[in-house]
Amino acid sequence: MNTSLLWLIPILPFAGFLLNGTIGRKLPRAAVAAIALLATLTSGAIVADLWIYMKSAGAPLALAVTSRPWIAVTGFQVDFAFTVDHLTVIMLGIITGVGFLIHVYSVGYMAHEEGYWRFFAYLNLFMFFMLVLVLSSSFLLLFVGWEGVGLASYLLIGFYFKRDSAANAGKKAFIVNRIGDFGFLLAMFLLIAHFGSLSFDRVFSQIPMLDSTGHLATSRCASLPCVIGFQPYSGGFLTAICLLLVVGAAGKSAQIPLYIWLPDAMEGPTPVSALIHAATMVTAGIYMVARCHVLFDRSPAALTVVALVGAATAIMAATIGMVQHDIKRVLAYSTVSQLGYMFLACGVGAYSAGIFHLMTHAFFKALLFLAAGSVIHALSGEQDMRVMGGLRKRIPITFWCMTVGVFAIAGCPLLSGFFSKDEILYQAFTSPSPVGKLVWVIGVLTSLLTSFYMFRLWFKTFFGAPRFDEHALAHGSHGQAALAPVHTRSDTTHTMVAEPEHDSGQAAHSHGIHESPWVMTVPLMVLALLAAIGGYVGVPVAFGGHNEFEHFLDPVFTAYSSGQPTPEPSAPAYQAISLTAIAVFAFALGLLTAYVFYCRKQGRATQLARRFKPLYSLLVHKFWVDEIYGALIVSPLLFASRWVLGGFVDTAIVGGTASAASGATKGLSQITRRMQSGNIRSYAGWLALGAAAVIIVVLFGVHPFHH
């Protein structure tokens, strides 16, 4: 394995971005797509090669490659350096694999958009930053990717910049992410202050050497853990660092309280939602927590916070997801909820379970989004589930793929989601974390709700009588045909409520509901396959598997440990089985309820909603979180800026002192001019008075310094 190939992994997409971004406008669409796909595919190939290499026996646990320094001042240096370990490899695989599939999908989905080149350029840019994020060997380079994916996300969410809502959503995503970055940055500053470096290796290797007061053990006893009476340091400033990192992770991974941007991010094109806002970018937070497990392990408090935040996010998003009508929004809240799951897993110390879920989630959630995109595509831009229904027959491929995805996420046994989710719940239950049991309960509840709302989506979309007006849709399709490229054209002010449909203007599609072209369905099918079987890499021991996934990651999560290997939680097998049974029960219950409400007795849900109106309203309005933020933070901030700072401080104090000074001077000036009355006699009066004063001063005023 030539390690310098590692550079190519991110650079290829970047080259794609540069090419498409600068000259893409002049290129034919096919060329644009080819450049983007090729860039992704090639790095995907390198990743595959890397994977094979890392799996092979005798491969080093980590590959590192360092280039020139990026930031260097005396005493602090950050290089352009990549490290690949097993965790990275998994992430790389997900990113390039799912990423490539979504690229392919986009070729079809975006086929007739005006900013085609722009879209692929941004997508490649995203790939670049995401790859940098996972490859980096230091916090700072990770942060580069971290911010970079935020930028790409901003650009892609705001892809339809003509629409205020899209532009707003992009801005919101970026700013909320920046709040997270704020925490991340502070964490890095603390790391520098304490460890003098941001390189993972340098930081993590110092942690075990912190003695109980938090000072670094002297270099002479580098292997101090063996010294008798050595108390490993935990908590303290490490907690501060961890909590700040959590803020960062919460921003990127849409956790409470910073999750608000993710649902709005659905303003972007659907492939973007699938790639960035489901499969890859939003999981960066989980990746980061897992990457920093050495830190988190030293801070039980921070871990507890992570677990609680994850659990709370999971259940809150799930409850909101139950009542949404927009198909993409349901998926968005589901994403938030699943991210909460992963967070929860990290919080109880089950990093590999979290990463496992990250991977399976990438498969099925990308699948779900793409399938939803296909549905929307079929309905010419309709996203409201209330006007769907009965699509099962009309778009069979999409339906079946979607079915796999729904079952997988709901935790249907033997599909990928089942294994990963089960692993998390099991780990939560058996973990020594003080909140382990609590988060387990919440996890199960969430699992129930997940099952419910996913099947609700499934039933409402594909079953029952069609609730859409086909002719209207066809008309709408025609109507939009004229307006199809509207959102990228300059000469109109038309704004659209729903996502503007892309290729609806084509004659081939004017008949209305239709299955998507093969470029879109093939990736769906591949993903469906992955969603189905992806879980088998991590079949737990209790089910006769080897939990290969966890073992694969073991070197990562046991590195830098203080020498005493943590004993494997050796819970009895029956416990695992019974926990699994509970999870399966939750899945079944969710499925059943959804079936009852949305297939069997339609209207029942509406009745319920009416009966529990306040509760329903609370959920529909997403707990009014946006409104609360607006009222408590944004408005006061703007008000204070405009009136207190702008009106009072700037005008009255900053400008006021100056104008007061100048006013006073001018007043004095007027007085001086008044003295100059033009009358000789008054002049003589001044002279006489002045003379008297002079005489007094000279006679009596002996200078203090000169006598």
Binding site: S677, N679, R681
Partner: protein, 100 residues
């Protein structure tokens, strides 16, 4: 036997009356006269000191002051005449075109 200081005080009185006259009088000519009064007061001072020091240079000084006063009078009265021609007034209170 009169203390020199008395002469000086007398001069000071005259000097200050001169100042006061300058301040109070409205006729330009009278104001000019008050300046002459002040000069005279200074002359008395000179003479007194001259007496005190037994030095005639003070007296010579007075002599020169007289000459200068004469020259000033010539010029000053010419200025007054010019003013009167231009403004038809001798009242200083009306000579205030320029102010502030």
């Amino acid at each position: 036997m009169v203390p020199i200081a008395f002469y000086l005080i007398l001069a000071a009185i005259l000097f200050c009356i001169g100042i006061a006259a300058f301040l109070i009088k409205r006729s330009v000519i009278t104001i000019f006269m008050s300046i002459e009064l002040m000069l005279n007061a200074v002359n008395l001072t000179f003479v007194a000191f001259s007496h005190m020091w037994r030095a005639v240079s003070g007296q010579i000084f007075v002599f020169f002051v007289m000459v200068v006063a004469a020259a000033e009078a010539a010029v000053g009265l010419a200025i007054i005449i010019a003013l009167f021609r231009a403004r038809q007034t001798l009242n200083v209170d009306q000579v205030n075109l320029m102010k502030n």
